[in-house]
Symmetry: C2
Subunit: 242 residues, 2 copies
């Protein structure tokens, strides 16, 4: 499925806040007449978007996988859309079966507001050199302890992750930072983005990402970039599942 996260407090069900999981469970309930348990591939933060989000649930419904997207979309609001369903083995787990995720962070790099990017990219007025930031971002590649790039409040103990791809490129007024890893820590992409912007602004020295990584010190990395620029772009599973 895809969703515009603007109106949601992320994926995961919460008390006193509307989440994508909740409205997806509402749609399943409207369709199947029962409240099903749904497992998502990732928590996402409030305001973060998904171009591809995977979740799994169990049903003995006779509705085919082909027809399920349209049937679900009829019960979902405009800012959430299902585009594919498939049968998976009984032990499939949207989060634990996932082998890698790919995120994209979009900066609307222009002095003036563009109404078509409001809420869908983070505004950044000063001109950015995408090629320079691309070279800086190469220092994220590989297996590192990303503790310096994790917000407090994450639940994981092991903060070692492997970044498989990191790139920065420009498309018109939009500068994208795209990063793929076997997993991400809490706010990791937003802190990576804030660090690249800190380098662009001269607040963090160019070439210092390796030192920041080694420091394991959150205060050495940049600020947490705002949520509206972040998109979960791809969720990867082993070949026999995807």
């Amino acid at each position: 499925m895809r969703y515009d996260g603007t109106a949601y407090h992320g994926w995961q069900v919460q008390e006193n806040a509307v989440t994508v999981q909740q409205i997806f469970q509402d749609a399943l309930e409207a369709l199947f007449g029962a409240r099903l348990s749904v497992t998502g591939c990732s928590r996402t933060d409030a305001g973060v978007h998904a171009l591809m989000y995977c979740c799994n649930f169990r049903t003995d419904s006779a509705i085919s996988c082909e027809k399920l997207p349209l049937a679900l979309n009829a019960h979902l609001p405009d800012d959430v859309g299902v585009y594919a369903c498939r049968e998976v083995p009984a032990d499939f787990h949207a989060r634990y079966s996932c082998i890698a995720k790919r995120y994209q962070y979009r900066l609307h790099n222009s002095p003036c507001r563009d109404p078509f990017f409001v809420g869908r990219a983070a505004p950044y007025k000063t001109p950015l050199d995408a090629d320079f930031l691309h070279r800086q971002a190469q220092d994220f590649l590989g297996t590192h302890d990303f503790a310096a790039f994790a917000a407090a409040g994450g639940s994981v103990e092991d903060t070692v992750r492997t970044v498989q791809d990191a790139r920065v490129f420009r498309m018109g007024d939009v500068v994208c930072f795209e990063v793929q890893a076997d997993g991400f820590l809490y706010n990791m992409v937003r802190i990576m983005t804030g660090t690249l912007l800190g380098i662009a602004e001269g607040k963090i020295p160019a070439g210092s990402i390796p030192q920041i990584l080694r420091s394991l010190d959150r205060s050495r990395a940049g600020v947490t970039a705002p949520p509206q620029g972040l998109y979960l772009k791809e969720v990867l599973y082993p070949d026999d599942l995807s």
Copy 2:
């Protein structure tokens, strides 16, 4: 300026409906302390968007053209954004000085809803052959009486227009019809789009656009495609003005 037209009843001030002209005049009033007369380059229909919209007004304000966009944006809602201002000769008229306009019609060509295109492209589920439609659209080129492609209710008497460019292309799930002319009749691009879709659906014979043009008969052309797919993309002025 640019605007997402979803929330507006077009550009032109109306009683009992919110229009872009009105909120632009409100912003000018907040900035200059007086209600100025503003001339737009085009009426646009309710729900139609603009990637480039030009308007002119007269002020003796000391705010420079460089600073005016940000100053105005501070008083405009998120769905309208000014990106440039310039001084023009006293006889400049945003509508009458314009020598050509370019529109783009976006079709989200997918069986499933994409939340990022809701309100910003017209959904069209059946796969379209953009190359085939591009060849059909070439029949719009040149100087013709476009009476068959004008909705009732337009105020103009002369329905002859010159189409300078017409193309259909695909970008991922989006099929775009882009057309440039010295002027457009009421609903002309939406009826052209509806006609191309009628050809795609076999309801209108391929190659029959020249006959429809000659008929001057609105009922021979296709339906009026919905407003949310339409973008005013460019407004062209003589070189010494632009």
